[in-house]
């Protein structure tokens, strides 16, 4: 048989019907649902007198609207109605729901993996663009619109035209103090926010193999910010170790059999991709975005760029608009940009390892008096583990606000919102105008960089602090 990429294998395993000139009909193994993009889909089912074909392959939670301070007190009546609507829809159609009372509640892309719903080789969809996160397990996972949510609810299938494939090979090792977030931000800064439109990316190379599952999820999560339909990373021992014992993952003998099957998914020797991009991990430094698109980012050691330095007229205009919105002057060192707020959380960086890394930086230090810093665990389980480890105490002693789980200020649909002109170091995924609040200014960074910025009151090169921490440990 012709050597195949992992994408081709998963695709072929799920094609139900193919016909020249038409999209393929793909079977969907897991459909994740949340309160924002589903109400109109359920309403569509009701109007057409349709049922949910496979409630057993559908799993719902509420995350976008959830308050993270007083979580049961949803003050916004429209938010409350949206959450109540999801509860009613799940009851009516027989779908398992992790609501606010559930210990499983959390951001949909955090709980899928931690419950073991996400496993290699599956097709996974959700009415949310960051569904690409689940690709970290070697699952073909992508975001869909509400019409498609309705389509999957009704048929458990999706009409899809076959995307092209791109290999992004990351050679070498990430340098000391450089995170997976820096890697994906650097890739997008280099190639742009639409370099992968129409493609499914498979990340390969030494640096990728050495990433933990949580780091892989960060990379795949922001793959959508490069325009790709999905990101994939081949499953390996790191993946299997993560999944072992997870509640919905196969158990016992079944798990061993599943691992053998998962091993067959990896790209065959000699298989080719439509495009290949190579990155040298050693060249990457901690990243900070300066603009209003995730591709507008640079190294912490550099300065805010001048609009004239860009190639095309459209780019120059975009940079000019972005700097005006962000209130930044070209030539300002990134490390001199002062911040007012810090948000550590989201489906990009709200997992337990992210919080551990931020806590490591925060430990024994104090948040700058002018800064309000917030840590929002990605799920109730992340929160519980963090509290068992005492991370909440480290954060609280340093002056961080320790919150309940949800999407929170990543998109500010709940009360966590920036005021006009406030500048925020955020571990989330989008620095769009107004994303975190009208007139709010978002700088995307890693959890370590965000924690360090909270303490210094401006961006700092966290590598210096990490070196300091490391040398302290040696002398202790």
């Amino acid at each position: 048989m012709k050597p195949r990429t992992m994408f081709e294998k998963i695709w072929q395993n799920h094609v139900i019907h193919e016909e020249a000139g038409k999209p393929s009909l793909l079977y969907i193994d897991l459909h994740l649902v949340h309160e924002v993009t589903s109400p109109q889909a359920f309403e569509g089912l009701r109007l057409a007198g349709r049922k949910v074909r496979r409630p057993d392959l559908t799993f719902a939670t509420m995350d976008h609207n959830v308050p993270t301070a007083d979580r049961f007190n949803v003050k916004d009546p429209i938010s409350r109605q949206q959450m109540e609507t999801l509860t009613q829809n799940c009851e009516e159609f027989g779908i398992t729901l992790a609501d606010l009372n559930s210990p499983d509640q959390g951001i949909v892309h955090v709980i899928g993996p931690e419950l073991g719903l996400t496993t290699p080789g599956k097709t996974i969809v959700c009415g949310d663009s960051h569904t690409s996160t689940h690709g970290a397990f070697g699952a073909l996972a992508f975001g869909i619109g509400t019409s498609e949510v309705e389509h999957v609810l009704a048929t458990q299938c999706l009409q899809q035209s076959k995307p092209k494939t791109m290999e992004v090979r990351v050679n070498g090792d990430l340098p000391f103090g450089v995170s997976a977030k820096d890697l994906i931000l650097a890739i997008i800064a280099k190639y742009g926010t639409d370099f992968a439109t129409g493609y499914v990316i498979e990340y390969t190379g030494e640096a990728i193999r050495k990433l933990t599952m949580e780091e892989r999820m960060t990379v795949c999560n922001m793959t959508i910010e490069g325009g790709a339909r999905a990101g994939l990373i081949a499953p390996d021992q790191t993946t299997f170790d993560y999944l072992k014992g997870k509640r919905y993952a196969p158990q016992g003998e079944d798990f061993l059999a599943a691992v053998e099957a998962w091993k067959q998914l990896v790209t065959d020797e000699g298989a080719t991709y439509d495009t290949v991009v190579e990155i040298e991990a050693s060249e990457i430094a901690p990243q900070v975005t300066w603009g209003t698109s995730p591709g507008m980012g640079t190294d912490i050691t550099k300065t805010v760029p001048a609009p004239e330095s860009f190639e095309t007229a459209n780019q120059r205009k975009a940079a000019q608009d972005a700097l005006a919105y962000m209130g930044l002057t070209p030539g300002t060192p990134m490390s001199e940009i002062k911040i007012d707020r810090v948000f550590i959380g989201s489906c990009t960086n709200g997992r337990i390892e992210d919080l551990r890394k931020a806590a490591e930086v925060a430990k024994g230090r104090k948040v700058a008096p002018s800064v309000h810093a917030m840590v929002v665990p990605g799920s109730q389980l992340v929160k519980q583990i963090a509290e068992q480890e005492g991370l909440h105490l480290i954060f609280q002693e340093a002056g961080f606000d320790w919150r309940e789980s949800g999407c929170s200020m990543c998109l500010a649909m709940n009360p966590d919102i920036l005021s006009e002109g406030e500048r925020c170091a955020s571990t989330s995924n989008r620095n769009f105008e107004g994303r975190q609040g009208r007139g709010g200014r978002t700088h995307l960074v890693s959890p370590e960089m965000a924690a360090a910025a909270a303490i210094a009151g401006h961006f700092v090169d966290v590598r210096e602090w990490k070196r300091e921490n490391a040398s302290k440990e040696v002398f202790q």
């Binding site: 993009t37 309403e43 109605q81 619109g145 389509h151 048929t155 975009a318």
Partner: protein, 194 residues
């Protein structure tokens, strides 16, 4: 879904790259549980001051483009969130077609599900359309999906590519779910062996 066959309307030039779906419809308006009524919130933070008064300089607040039904846009239009509220808002406002050099994947797909035609033209062609739309009051474009061509009244004529199947569904206003359910036997057979 309303079919799209041929449409003539005023073209509004929105001169920004990477227009994201947060800009098209900000998150505070995603809480509604209906599909309708989103047009009033389209481009909200560019269109309205904090107190709700219109921002005169925004293109859709300029009298010449107020009734536009064709949107001219730049690269990577519709990037970001998968929210279908973005095409719902555009449609509800009155837009039936969007012309840009490139679109984000999910948004592009969502348009077809709602009877909006997204058209990809080259950067040079889009530049030319911007020039014409900015240079003339009431600049109208006719979009013919049957013939796959964009025309104006001054002799401009740009053919465009569109996936044949998407074109067929849009011309006929077909419901995807109905089409998929024709393969019920195949779905059931797949489920039996998975």
């Amino acid at each position: 879904m309303n079919p799209f066959v041929i449409h003539t309307g005023v073209a509004a030039p929105l001169d920004r790259v990477n227009v994201d779906t947060d800009a098209i419809i900000p998150k505070q308006f995603l809480k509604r549980i209906e599909r309708s009524g989103f047009g009033q919130f389209l481009f909200y933070e560019w269109r309205f001051e904090v107190d709700g008064s219109p921002i005169d300089s925004f293109i859709l607040n300029t009298p010449a483009y107020k009734d536009a039904t064709v949107l001219l846009a730049r690269n990577n239009f519709g990037c970001g969130s998968s929210r279908e509220h973005a095409p719902w808002a555009l449609l509800d406002y009155g837009f039936r077609a969007i012309i840009a050099p490139s679109f984000a994947d999910i948004f592009y797909n969502n348009c077809f599900k709602n009877g909006i035609l997204p058209i990809k033209l080259s950067e040079e062609q889009v530049d030319e359309l911007f020039k014409r739309a900015q240079g003339k009051e009431n600049y109208q474009l006719t979009i013919d999906l049957q013939e796959q061509v964009v025309k104006d009244n001054d002799g401009l004529s740009y053919p465009f590519e569109v996936d044949a199947y998407r074109r067929y569904c849009l011309l006929n206003g077909l419901d995807d779910i109905g089409i998929t359910l024709q393969y019920e036997d195949k779905i059931a057979a797949y489920e039996a062996r998975r």
